[in-house]
């Protein structure tokens, strides 16, 4: 096997099963322990992750422009967007909650789009430096992904709880769907990216 560093499993033609973590020769094609397909590297990792990333970036626009919920109070219907909600909480001096929503709904999804984008670019460009830092960035991206669902859950709870016909009713808005889509698609994009590609680039002078 050429093209892989000498101390890797891939250089000996061995593949780690990503389901049951058993190391087997890749020419067996199927993991003898759990039956999963064996690959030295996730197939089409960069292309799949990039396609999902672009999809998520497009969906992020309606998620922010459209209302995530409507408040019907005494005959008036007030739509609110994600950022609108953060600003309102800030004005009501609920700083910690405004910060939680801002981090989970704005910073984390944006950060994920940028970090997966950067990881893909760095692998394509064959960068050899800061492998450890990029691996850490990947792990953080994978870890925080689910936390962005907070805002969707908050909308679901408000819709279920605040329902007094004729007085106050909260209804879900289309942005809740787009936003859930952004969260799910970026989670799949992070999973599609194979961090071993970071380590496949040649040795760096400072490592």
């Amino acid at each position: 096997m050429s093209g892989y560093a000498a101390d890797t499993a891939a250089s000996r033609g061995l593949a780690l099963c990503h389901v049951c973590f058993k190391l087997s020769p890749v020419e067996q094609h199927i993991c003898p322990r759990c039956g999963e397909h064996l690959h030295l590297r996730t197939p089409d990792s960069v292309q799949r992750a990039a396609a999902l990333l672009i999809t998520a970036a497009i969906l992020y626009i309606p998620a922010n422009v459209l209302p995530i919920m409507y408040t019907e109070q005494l005959g008036n219907t007030i739509p609110s967007t994600i950022m609108g909600g953060v600003i309102l909480l800030w004005h009501h001096k609920s700083y910690p909650i405004a910060a939680v929503i801002f981090i989970a709904s704005v910073m984390v999804p944006m950060g994920k789009l940028f970090s997966v984008g950067y990881l893909l670019w760095s692998v394509r460009a064959g960068r050899t430096s800061s492998k450890q830092q990029r691996t850490t960035l990947y792990r953080m991206t994978e870890f925080v992904g689910r936390w962005s669902m907070i805002d969707v859950f908050v909308v679901s709870i408000l819709v279920a709880l605040i329902h007094l016909s004729g007085v106050i009713v909260i209804r879900p808005g289309a942005a809740a769907v787009s936003f859930a889509g952004v969260v799910i698609i970026t989670m799949i994009a992070a999973e599609a990216f194979d961090p071993r590609l970071i380590w496949d680039a040649g040795e760096d002078a400072d490592e």
Binding site: A10, L16, S94, I101, R146, S156, L161, V167, M187, W199
Partner: protein, 199 residues
């Protein structure tokens, strides 16, 4: 036993771990394996307790809301049902899946797997269940939902009175059990044991 690092593919000769030890990749720091004390038995106990709490969480009022003398009570399943009633069927399925269905199926599969595993017996469904368990892992959002509830409470407190129901506490207890189950169950150890039992 030879293994490779999942994150950087370094070939590693992994020694047998003592209880309480964990193995890290020397190159990138990925945690290769852990060996919690009596992991399988404890995971089984936490999963059983978790299932009891989840059943309770679905059976009583979750939160109640009061304004101008009127009141509304919501249950845990209504988190998803109200989205369905609002015309968002797909989103309702996702939310219901993330907060109740996926974690419930994971815990049921775990109990079904760990009962024979702890007793040293083989069961024909061990492999498919283990595969599904880890495939479902990222789609369980129990702790995210719990934080979502707390954020919602703070949002509403300004405009009305909110009471925490019995189900809220049951779901909080379920969250603790769920996290405990996953943290004492080592994936590599479980698969090694399944391989031993099916040999």
């Amino acid at each position: 036993m030879h293994t490779a690092c999942l994150d950087c593919d370094l070939l590693i000769d992994l020694p047998r771990l003592e209880e309480g030890q964990r193995a890290k990749c020397p190159r990138c720091g990925y945690i290769l394996a852990t060996r919690p004390h009596d992991g399988f038995r404890r995971a089984l106990a936490y999963a059983l307790a978790g299932l009891v709490f989840l059943a309770l969480a679905n059976s009583f009022p979750f939160l109640s809301f009061e304004q101008s003398g009127l009141a509304n009570v919501m249950t845990l399943p209504q988190t998803a049902m109200s989205l369905y009633a609002g015309g968002f069927t797909g989103l309702a399925l996702l939310v219901g899946g993330f907060i109740v269905l996926v974690p419930a199926v994971m815990m049921i599969m775990l109990v079904a797997m760990l009962v024979p595993v702890v007793n040293g017996r083989h069961a024909h469904y061990l492999k498919p269940f283990a595969r599904w368990l880890y495939r479902m892992g990222p789609w369980s959002m129990v702790e995210v939902y719990l934080i979502g509830v707390i954020v919602s409470l703070v949002k509403i407190m300004a405009l009305a009175t909110v009471h925490l129901g019995f189900s809220f506490w049951a779901y909080a207890a379920f969250t603790v059990c769920f996290i405990a189950t996953i943290s004492v169950l080592d994936r590599v150890a479980l698969w090694d044991r399944i391989e031993e039992l099916s040999a």
